[in-house]
């Protein structure tokens, strides 16, 4: 059963991360391709605190979330000044900068060689080392995230965020603070991503920059878009589908010389077909 537990636990962590991306990209319309970088900061902070200090798991997770809140506000600030494609490229830049730091700041992150031996979370004296035990924690984290997302979408604040995406000028003309709304959304997205990062590091016990690079950010976008942007259900189903995809594609029997390329090719074709024929994703609203 450990396989299913670990699959579900990982998918739940990605759901939390997907919520963060959906909030920024889908709801507010801040097109960030650097959420994997924030995710990474959360993972490295928790790993560092657990391995080098006496800070217990939950405070470490809180510290990571708090730092990611601050950092996510900082990296989404350029969206106030630059818009559309310009912000996308800035965001690409932030992602590559983060990868450079994860890879080269060896003292803090273990560098390209990675950080093995991150301790499992210790909660109320229980060490959550087996996937089954960890699953409870991941489920709680995801449930809290989903609840928060759902509540916000129903609240006036959620309507304000959607309105900003539709017409920022009109919102400003009505006397609402666009700045405050964007900053709050970024803060919330940061908290989700940071928490997801902390859970990821303690679940895998090994982290390296490959989990937090540009490809990871793009995978995250694909999860949100394939699942369906702007909806809670879409954010949940996307990660479950895309995390299983490499495992599912491995089932297709192909001659080894072309198998690798053919599987990635199928992934690319799937993305194109989705965008052409079902751009709203499996369970989303029209983008």
């Amino acid at each position: 059963m450990d396989f299913f537990y670990s699959y579900i636990a990982l998918a739940e962590i990605y759901v939390l991360l997907g919520l963060s991306t959906n909030l920024l990209v889908g709801i507010v319309g801040i097109f960030s391709v650097s959420q994997a970088a924030i995710f990474g900061v959360g993972a490295y902070v928790v790993a560092y605190l657990l391995m080098n200090t006496a800070v217990p798991f939950l405070p470490a997770l809180l510290a990571a979330a708090a730092l990611c809140v601050a950092l996510n506000i900082l990296v989404t600030l350029p969206s106030l000044r630059v818009s559309g494609d310009y912000f996308v490229v800035t965001s690409f830049g932030i992602q590559l900068l983060a990868t450079a730091i994860f890879t080269n700041w060896t003292a803090g992150t273990g560098g390209a060689a990675g950080l093995p031996g991150v301790p499992a979370p210790l909660i109320f004296g229980q060490e959550l080392i087996e996937p089954g035990a960890f699953l409870g924690l991941a489920t709680a984290g995801m449930a809290l995230g989903c609840l928060g997302f759902w509540l916000i979408m129903r609240a006036p604040f959620g309507r304000l965020l959607r309105a900003i995406r539709e017409d920022e000028l009109a919102v400003a003309a009505l006397g609402k603070s666009v700045l405050r709304a964007k900053v709050s959304a970024a803060a919330l997205a940061g908290a989700f991503a940071g928490t997801a990062g902390g859970l990821y590091a303690t679940f895998l016990s090994f982290i390296d920059p490959s989990s937090f690079d540009l490809d990871a950010s793009i995978l995250l976008l694909a999860m949100v878009v394939v699942g369906g942007a702007r909806t809670l259900a879409g954010s949940i189903i996307g990660p479950f589908v895309l995390l299983a995809l490499p495992q599912a594609l491995a089932l297709i029997d192909l001659p080894t010389s072309v198998a690798a390329a053919a599987r990635q090719l199928i992934y690319g074709v799937l993305l194109i077909v989705f965008m052409l024929f079902r751009p709203q994703g499996l369970l989303g609203e029209k983008l």
């Binding site: 990209v25 097109f31 600030l77 350029p78 000044r81 630059v82 559309g84 494609d85 310009y86 996308v88 490229v89 800035t90 690409f92 830049g93 932030i94 590559l96 900068l97 450079a100 730091i101 890879t103 080269n104 540009l214 793009i218 976008l221 694909a222 878009v225 942007a229 010389s257 072309v258 690798a260 390329a261 053919a262 990635q264 090719l265 992934y267 690319g268 074709v269 799937l270 993305l271 194109i272 989705f274 965008m275 052409l276 751009p279 983008l287």
Partner: protein
């Protein structure tokens, strides 16, 4: 003398990067599509040229075959993918994801056909070196500079002196106006993407002639070129080319003061700060 070597090396790499930036700038300024699959077209250009050479075509013919094939490939992507997406009213996000998908498809066709191993052109003349002003340059590097400058001049001439170029700039600056004046933006888009794709075959073949062919090599190159285009100001061909050369020179010279692993990080850091203060680029039109 290290600084001189690095400076010259930066200028050479900058010419190759400049061609990518100019080609991407043509496409982006006109269509407003963040055409990530351009990286796939870039790689495809190198591999097709390599194949033509292997089948006995002389170098200029092989390059020409690559250029024409890339142009067709670009037109195909525009017609079959971007035009359909535009018709269904797709947002930027949807177009970007589709383009990422197309990029993955192109790269993996290459990986499937040619394997992911580094392939070399191994042309004897390309490996020869010539001392110029105390710096050794390979023939590949000299050819790259020559073709790079010629490409820049050619694109400038095309955009400002030809009828098609003027139409292209008209569509870029105001698609709605272009529509009612019957400039037919859709056809212009196809032509521009084809042209940009044909141009990107040049660095696509010249860079691997120097460094070897790899299916996944195009993306970092394209991102750096995009930064050059945006920092130079979208729509400015000179801006894209000059900034590409400047970035390549800075990345090389940065080795004088810091270890190489930080040069990419520093480039992007400078860019992010730059965007905060000059979000429209240096030479914005």
């Amino acid at each position: 003398m290290l600084w001189l070597h690095l400076l010259v090396n930066g200028l050479v790499s900058g010419c190759a990067l400049g061609m990518v930036a100019v080609s991407f700038s043509l496409i982006f300024a006109t269509t407003k599509i963040f055409h990530v699959a351009h990286a796939g077209v870039y790689s495809m250009g190198g591999y097709l040229t390599w194949s033509a050479l292997r089948h006995g075509a002389p170098e200029p013919l092989a390059l020409l075959i690559g250029i024409v094939a890339c142009g067709l490939l670009g037109a195909l992507i525009q017609k079959l993918l971007y035009e359909r997406l535009a018709r269904s009213g797709a947002t930027h996000l949807v177009v970007l994801i589709a383009s990422l998908g197309a990029s993955a498809v192109l790269q993996n066709i290459i990986a499937g056909v040619y394997t992911s191993n580094v392939l070399r052109f191994a042309l004897p003349w390309a490996d020869r070196t010539v001392p110029i002003g105390g710096v050794l340059l390979s023939m590949t590097q000299i050819v790259t500079v020559g073709i790079g400058l010629a490409t820049y001049a050619g694109v400038m001439w095309f955009a400002h002196r030809t009828g098609l170029g003027k139409r292209m700039r008209a569509v870029a600056s105001n698609p709605f106006l272009a529509e009612i004046t019957r400039l037919n933006p859709r056809d212009v888009h196809v032509v521009v993407v084809a042209l940009g794709s044909a141009i990107v075959c040049l660095p696509g073949a010249l860079v691997p002639l120097d460094l070897g062919l790899q299916p996944f090599g195009g993306v970092p190159m394209l991102l750096t070129a995009t930064i050059a285009m945006i920092a130079g100001g979208v729509g400015s061909i000179s801006g894209a080319f000059v900034l590409a050369v400047a970035i390549a020179v800075l990345q090389n010279l940065s080795l004088l003061v810091m270890p190489g692993e930080w040069s990419i990080g520093v480039t992007f850091f400078v860019f992010v700060i730059f965007m905060l203060f000059r979000p429209r680029g240096l030479f914005a039109t």
